[in-house]
Amino acid sequence: MRRRTRSRPPIAVAILAALAVVFFVVPVVGLLQRAPWSELGDDLTDPVVRDALRLSLVCSLGATALAFVLGLPLAWILARTQLPGRRIVRALVLLPMVLPPVVGGVALLLAFGRRGLVGQYLDDWLGVRLPFTTWGAILAEAFVAMPFFIIVVEAGLRSLDRRYEDAAATLGARGFTTFRRVVLPLIAPSLVAGAALTWARALGEFGATILFAGNLQGETQTMPLAIFVELQTNLGGAIALSLVLLAVSVVVLVSLRDRWFPA
């Protein structure tokens, strides 16, 4: 490999870049230095905190599962078919990534709420109510997080050499067998990365959840909601929960390092 000549950055650029790094690092340091390390055990076993941890796990995994069930077929269609309006569909699907989550929450309420566009029929015909339920929290998280799964998996499918599938077909494998035995293993890294991103985003979801699902300990109060409420009365508990989320973020970052920071 040829060594590239390293150029020295202009001093002003270096200073601004250093400021950017400081800007990102200082809040983390701020959080860590206020952490009540000795009471962390007590803070984490507090019932509010424990319920929030459990609920966050359930909801974020539920949202990720939903992303697999609904997102994988959509990613496949977006990557492999020439469906008219494909670009519009993709834009719509990715909208929640750029939409403020609070707006997502309002939209979900107006769609799936008790008087919502769809929600009124869910309630009248099926007796299903989503707001103020754990299902509502899962739905809110999936709405915000699923696009991450779709975009990553679609990219994985696109970069896949189609000759593998052609070869499987010539050997007599049917469509679904090919998908299951050839395509899925080959895009496994994308699936893992997409699921990790989706899970991390779902875990951190706040705005859509509190608006659509409400806030009740053990039912809909996930970790970010508990942090928001606890901050008003129990700073230690809020910091303890924040540390958990920070640790999770670090783990996700480290496990995806090859994808994001190729050496």
Partner: protein, 253 residues
């Protein structure tokens, strides 16, 4: 380190001309202030600000409306508030105890609770005792928030135990769940129900069960504009502001 900071801060204050209290110099209040106020004060303070800015044209007032408990935490963390108006005495005491407010708080209004139900009261709710029916979706304010604390007291007075579907972050958020139709009932302030101008219906809570909410106000110690902050604290006690508060359903202090 700390001393250097103090010296720099003092120097900055002199250079930037941070105004000493107006009364000392006899200057008229000017500039901007940020008032942190309980969410239940949203409509009344917005109306009072118009009166205030007519009286003090050089002052512009900005608001941060949220639950008093959240605002108190933010002030303790150094949020740039000039005045704090709380929906209960406990949360103002919290910032007095942490030395973020040194002035003596003044009670400027009182409020009572009411049950907010869907327009026309289709579920025929007549009192707190009707709120424990199964299948009825009741939302309350979070426990830390004054309206949540007051509601808990009222339910205790009535001897009713309710399992809410959600505990919302402030009075206005709680009420919005009823006006959106997601909840059948909530317990909020009389003034909140009145402010919806008929979007929701209020069901009275009798005095023996009801709770009186007390609203104290005080300037924050670190205010950069104590003249205007003090003027606001005085103004909400004035006849003009008090009549606005009365009109919107608040009780006299």
């Amino acid at each position: 380190m700390r001393r250097t900071f103090v010296v720099i801060a003092a120097f900055a204050a002199v250079v930037l001309g941070a105004a000493p209290p107006a009364r000392a110099t006899g200057k008229k209040p000017s500039g901007g202030i940020t008032v942190f106020a309980a969410a239940s004060l949203t409509d009344s303070f917005n109306a009072i600000a118009k009166q205030f800015e007519k009286r003090y044209p050089d002052v512009s007032v900005k608001f941060d409306f949220d639950s008093s408990s959240n605002l108190a935490s933010q002030i303790q963390q150094g949020a740039p508030a000039d005045v704090f108006a709380s929906a209960d005495e406990a949360n103002l005491q919290k910032v007095v105890d942490s030395d973020d407010v040194t002035a003596t708080p003044v009670v400027f209004a009182k409020n009572r609770l009411e049950i907010a139900v869907d327009k026309g009261n289709p579920k025929k709710i007549r009192g707190l005792a009707d709120l424990d029916q199964s299948g009825l979706v009741v939302v309350l304010c979070a426990d830390a928030v004054p309206c949540g604390k007051y509601a808990t007291e009222a339910f205790a007075n009535a001897g009713v135990s309710v399992r809410p579907a959600s505990k919302e972050e402030n009075a206005k958020a709680t009420l919005s769940k009823v006006s959106l139709g997601e909840a059948d009932a909530s317990v909020v302030y009389v003034t909140d129900v009145k402010a919806t101008k008929g979007d929701v219906t209020g069901v009275k809570i009798p005095d023996r069960q009801n709770v009186v909410a007390t609203y104290p106000i005080a300037a924050v110690k670190d205010t950069q504009n104590s003249a205007a902050a003090e003027a606001w604290v005085q103004f909400v006690q004035s006849k003009a502001a008090q009549s606005t508060l009365r009109k919107l359903g608040f009780l006299p202090p």
